[in-house]
Symmetry: C2
Subunit: 139 residues, 2 copies
C-alpha cells in the first residue's frame, strides 16, 4: 500500500476529473475521464459491466489513475494499482453513482430516482476499487 501525501490530498477530496488508463486486449492502453470517490484508502469508480474499460480490467486488472489540479497542470497525482471489481447487489453500486452525481452535478440521483432494476439504461452497475500500490505526486 502506498499513501497519498498530505500535499496532494485535496486532489482526491474534491470532485476532479480522474483519467483512468486500462489495457485493451491487444495491449494498447485506453484512457477515459471519470468521476471518483476517495474513501480514505481506496479510489472508487462507478461504471457498468458492459463498458470496454470493465472488459479490459477483467483481462488485466492493473491500471493507472491520473488526477490533475484543474488550476495547475504541473500539479498532479498518479495512482497505480490493481482493480477489485465489486457488485454487492445493486445497492452499493447505485448508492455510489448517486453520491457521485450529487458531488459532480448537484443532482441527488443519477437515474432520477427510478428504481435501479427498472432504469431505462438496463445496465449492470459495478464498482472499480483501486487501492494505491504506487503513487507519484508532482508539483
Amino acid at each position: 500500500m502506498a499513501n497519498i501525501p498530505a500535499s496532494h490530498q485535496d486532489l482526491v477530496q474534491n470532485p476532479n476529473a480522474l483519467i483512468l488508463a486500462t489495457t485493451m486486449p491487444d495491449g494498447t492502453p485506453q484512457t477515459t475521464v471519470l468521476w471518483f470517490r476517495w474513501t480514505g484508502d481506496t479510489l472508487q469508480i462507478s461504471t457498468t459491466a458492459e463498458r470496454q474499460k470493465t472488459e479490459n480490467i477483467q483481462s488485466n486488472p492493473r491500471v493507472s489513475a491520473m488526477i490533475v489540479d484543474p488550476n495547475n497542470m504541473y500539479r498532479y497525482l498518479e495512482v497505480r494499482g490493481t482493480v477489485d471489481i465489486t457488485h454487492n447487489g445493486h445497492d452499493d453500486a447505485y448508492n455510489l453513482i448517486d453520491w457521485l452525481a450529487k458531488q459532480y452535478t448537484g443532482k441527488n440521483q443519477y437515474y432520477g430516482g427510478v428504481a435501479p432494476a427498472e432504469n431505462k439504461y438496463n445496465e449492470t452497475r459495478v464498482i472499480l476499487n483501486i487501492k494505491p500500490e504506487h503513487v507519484v505526486a508532482r508539483g
Copy 2:
C-alpha cells in the same frame, strides 16, 4: 489513420495538458502529464531517452493520449496510436522543446539559450511522434 473531428480541433490547437498512457514492463499502465504539439497529422511530445515512459515505449510503442477541455471535463479527446521515436540530431528535439516552452510558458528557450550539448541537464532529448490510429471524441 483516424481524423480528429472539427468539433475537437481546438483541444489540439491550444496548449492543453496531454495525459500520456504507456505500459510498464510488468504490464501496468503508467500515466504522465505533458506538453504537446499537433502538426496537423501527428501529436509530438518532447521528452528524454532516460525517462521511464521512453523505456516503456521502447518495449511497447502503443499508447493512449488524453486531452480534456480545461473548462469542461465532459469534453475530451482520446488518441490511440503507435509511437515513432525520432532523434534527428539535437536540433529537431531542441527546436521542439523551445517551441513548446514558448507556447506553454511564454519563455523563448527551455534551456535558457544554453547550447544543447552543454545544457546542465545532460539529457538526450527525443521526439515521440504519434499518428492517430483510433480517436474518441466526447462532449
